[in-house]
């Protein structure tokens, strides 16, 4: 071994924040760019085009809608194709051009989810591959045949066409729409070789339906022609509800409710929402939301110093992600509250993670629910994933831990770091906290931001080392995890350690408003709006008082605004 010839800047950087003009700013969805909802035509801020809609049910809420032609996300597209064609899995090798990153993936702002030249080609190839796959598989094909199908080719074809199109378009189809697909069906034998007339026709029709704008967009047109604010049709409400809560097309029961005209009042929607929230699709959808919100994708990339942490090998990062996924799912599926996400002392571990947590007992490779010591661990911010991801190869990274808490938990964005900052030195004497403090704390150029807005939130977690293990000393000195944070709406909070801070966050309106505003964006499929905070006011009160996440979601989708298009 020897000292390297260069001082190499390896791929891990501390951030430091410019001193100038450093004030926290409330934002939403820390996961990416924050952009305005796309429905109003792009970059305007809220407030412009003040809504003419006054909700009729005594609510002061007026929640602006997303795009009127909201293209399905790739996640929704996969789910909807599977549900439409009753497939367990899609054929292998399908690729869709990656979408832009604009907050949550369903934010249709601007041209982010446009059907570009390349994506259109991808849809075309995917539709052809899937159609051939379904028609080539007798069992899959049979599933699409309505019961008691007539035998005459045209009558049988028209029946299949109507059934397929109604489910693909998520609404009734008229005779002209059946005719245009029948015309395509008839051409089948001239367009596809090696199949009989029915199969060739069906393959072309499936391919066409999958490329139809009525399938690819969640359209909100209302009855007749509409500008400004208007009531959604029953079927549009069904689609909005289904894609919001389950990231896929409405199931048969929801379509039946739409057909019966039931989706016009809060009670029927509440019944449907509560039913949907129990489905596996809703759990997958919530997991998809949380993965984006809590930046779980990044857990895959954690790398640690193997000499310092032999327990943390290349298989560990995936386990951390699984822990977080199971934990979040468990809380939400069991009527847990936003507070529980930050304070529950239960988690899910296998033998490997149990060892890192220092748990005694018998564990296997399979994850199981396990209680953690509530004097050491409470909620997501004291679990291994957050702690290990926001840490260097050897030491915790209070700066990134603090930034995460500020941006993701509290929706307070921070200005970008100055351009020429140096990483926090990893060597040298003293504690990790002392090194960070000397680099960015009071008396340095980072004092304005770091000392007040970032570092205190990160120092609180100094009791957890770079892989998230509990520790009481650092470099032979007792850990100091105390601090104060002044940015909560309730004022200054002082804490002795991370558990104190977590409790303060869990009881703050700032956190509940942040978490629920992210859900609001996801359910309404758009970016942040200036007025979201006001729309959430009552929900935040209820949430602080112990309303479950699921109940808050139900409140949002039963809001009259959810049944209207509001530009």
């Amino acid at each position: 071994m020897r000292a390297p010839k260069f001082r190499l800047i390896v791929c891990s950087f501390a951030i430091a924040v410019a001193a100038a003009a450093c004030t926290g700013k409330i934002t939403t969805h820390g996961g990416g760019e924050q952009v305005d909802g796309g429905g109003g035509g792009g970059g305007g801020s809220a407030g412009k085009g003040s809504p003419s809609f006054e909700p009729s049910e005594g609510s002061t809420d007026a929640i602006v809608s997303g795009a009127r032609f909201a293209r399905l996300t790739h996640f929704q597209w996969q789910n909807a194709v599977k549900d439409l064609l009753l497939l367990k899995a899609l054929p292998a090798g399908l690729t869709l051009q990656r979408d832009a990153v604009l907050g949550f993936d369903n934010n249709n702002a601007g041209s982010a989810l446009d059907v570009s030249f390349d994506l259109r080609g991808d849809y075309e190839r995917a539709a052809e591959t899937i159609a051939a796959f379904v028609v080539g598989d007798p069992v899959a094909k049979m599933r699409l045949m309505p019961r008691d199908s007539p035998t005459a080719l045209e009558a049988k074809a028209r029946l299949v066409i109507r059934s397929l199109a109604e489910r693909a378009y998520r609404r009734p189809v008229d005779a002209a729409e059946v005719d245009e697909l029948w015309n395509l069906f008839k051409q089948g034998p001239n367009l596809i070789t090696g199949r009989d007339a029915f199969d060739a026709g069906l393959e072309v029709v499936i391919s066409a339906v999958l490329q139809s704008p009525a399938f690819l967009y969640k359209m909100e047109l209302g009855e007749g022609q509409n500008t400004g604010s208007f009531a959604l049709t029953n079927f549009e409400v069904a689609s909005r509800l289904s894609f919001a809560l389950t990231d896929t097309m409405p199931d048969d029961e929801l379509l039946a409710a739409a057909r019966a005209g039931e989706l016009t009042d809060a009670e029927h929607i509440r019944t449907q929402a509560q039913r949907l929230l129990k489905t596996p699709a809703a759990r997958a959808s919530a997991a998809h939301f949380h993965e984006q919100l809590f930046r779980l994708a990044g857990l895959d990339q954690i790398e640690k110093d193997v000499k310092a942490f032999p327990a943390f090998d290349s298989a560990t990062p995936a386990l951390l992600k699984e822990e977080a996924r199971l934990f979040l799912d468990h809380i939400v599926a069991n009527q847990g509250t936003p507070r529980d996400l930050l304070t529950s002392s239960e988690t899910f571990v296998n033998a490997k993670l149990a060892a890192i947590y220092g748990l005694s007992g018998t564990f296997t490779n399979t994850f199981q629910k396990a209680p953690l010591d509530p004097q050491q661990r409470r909620g997501l911010l004291t679990q291994l994933g957050f702690l290990a991801k926001n840490a260097g190869a050897k030491d915790p990274d209070p700066i990134h831990r603090g930034v995460f808490v500020s941006e993701v938990i509290l929706c307070k964005t921070l200005p970008p770091p100055a351009a020429n900052v140096k990483p926090v030195p990893t060597m040298g004497g003293g504690t990790n906290r002392a090194r960070v403090e000397a680099h960015t704390g009071k008396g340095t150029c980072g004092a304005t931001c770091h000392a007040t807005l970032i570092n205190p939130l990160g120092y609180a977690f100094e009791s957890y080392d770079a892989i998230g293990r509990w520790r009481t000393t650092d470099s032979g000195t007792p850990v100091d995890a105390s601090g104060a944070y002044e940015e909560l709406a309730s004022g200054k909070v002082s804490f002795d350690n991370g558990l104190d801070l977590v409790e303060a966050l869990a009881g703050s309106s700032d956190y509940h408003a942040c978490y629920l505003s992210n859900w609001l964006q996801y359910l309404f499929a758009r970016g942040a709006r200036d007025d979201d905070g006001l729309a959430l006011e009552r929900l935040v009160d209820d949430s602080l008082a112990g309303t479950s996440v699921q109940e808050s979601l139900t409140s949002l989708v039963t809001n009259p605004a959810f049944r209207r298009y509001l530009p």
Partner: protein, 473 residues
Amino acid sequence: MKAVSRRKVLRGWAGATLALPALDIFEGKAKAATKPTYAVFVVGCNGVVQNLGEEPEMFWPSTTGALTTAKLEADAKSRATGRLSRFASKLLLVRGVNQSFLSPRACSHTWGDNQCLTATPGSEDKDGPASSLAQGESIDHRIAREKNANGRGPLVLHAGRNSTGGKGYGNPGYVSYKGPMQPHSPDSSPWAAYTRIVGLAGGNADALKLVATRRKSVNDFVRSQIKRLQSRADLSAEDKRRLDAHFTAIRDIELGMTAGLPSTTLKEMEAMDGKDANMRLKVHVDAHRDALVRLHMDLIAFAFAGDITRSASLKVGDNNDGISFVLDGVTLPSFHMISHRVMSDGSDGDPIPNAVETHARIDRLLMDQFGYLGDKLAASTSPDGSLLDRGFAVWTNQIANGAHDGRSLPYVILGAANGRLKTGRFMDAGGVSHNQLMNALLAAADVTKPGGAPVDDFGDAGLPKRVLPDIVV
């Protein structure tokens, strides 16, 4: 808790929204051009061996000024650019161009990828240090947007170990961006890209016709549905824009395409599309890298010759390039480790003997690959001259040298760009930010501001609005 203060907080949501990037501008518009110019950008990894204070000069020619074949030939053994001596009169070497954003806030390889074709800084590393994304449109997309017919994007290719669409350290080294935070997932398989260009996967003429007819029937159906929506009187400008974009994206197969690839090349591309004996995708296997890069270059020349696109980009390597080259029968350590000079992807590790010389040999190999592109472009002739006369190719790197320096990035520009580029020279720009060179290259590609003035503001808005002089005539 005081309700008043919380209400204030909630009202404070004002300011939460950031301005939406002007994404609408990315809608492609067909524009007439009298004499098309073609531009391709090849981006390598891990830097080159050059003298930035600590290591010998093994990349640039011995002296600045006019380039001659003889002068470059004399350098060919010890200096990588010497390998391009046959192109002396059409070569423009530019030293002294720095990354526009010198202080990485992400993995410095990724940071280099972020900005090299966009001149914008990377985003915060929200999903890990290698997940940073560029904040603006890349030059290949800009050229395609302004110059391509039918809204078609650039040809975006990749030759590396990682699959396209990968994230974090598994990312393929995104350099092409449709817009802020919108990396263009490249094609690793030239066969996939080729079939995308011509609209179907191989087949004989009859099969092509059948597929073309089928797609046209389905396209007619989709077009009529979109038209019905477009005819509604109650659409907003945004609704219309979105539907128009979708409508414009629908293309029937271009049966009239004349510029073909030799069948041997097509067969090689098709063979490269499969898996090897170990069930690994060949395009991601080191042993196929050189052949893959050359097939990509064949495809680029094909796409230019048929005027399918006016711009292309090719990333060689990934977030960094961990390829193990085989030189003279010897399998080398990972290129990335060689570039670090130690047996490690970080800074601690046993020294690699002759690492500098080995890195320089790899540089020469990479210049030979780039020379292949030059040969292909030169071989494609038309009454207006060869593609090397009518276009240009740029070879650059995400970083300047193995020490991850952002100063003095390598820029090897090959081609005359319809007489716009001042070729046959090696110049030192004296340490300017690279957006100024990007502005000059846009001029070389015949891209101007709407009124015809030179583009001086490519990339981040905070950069100096200047065009590097002495690049274009």
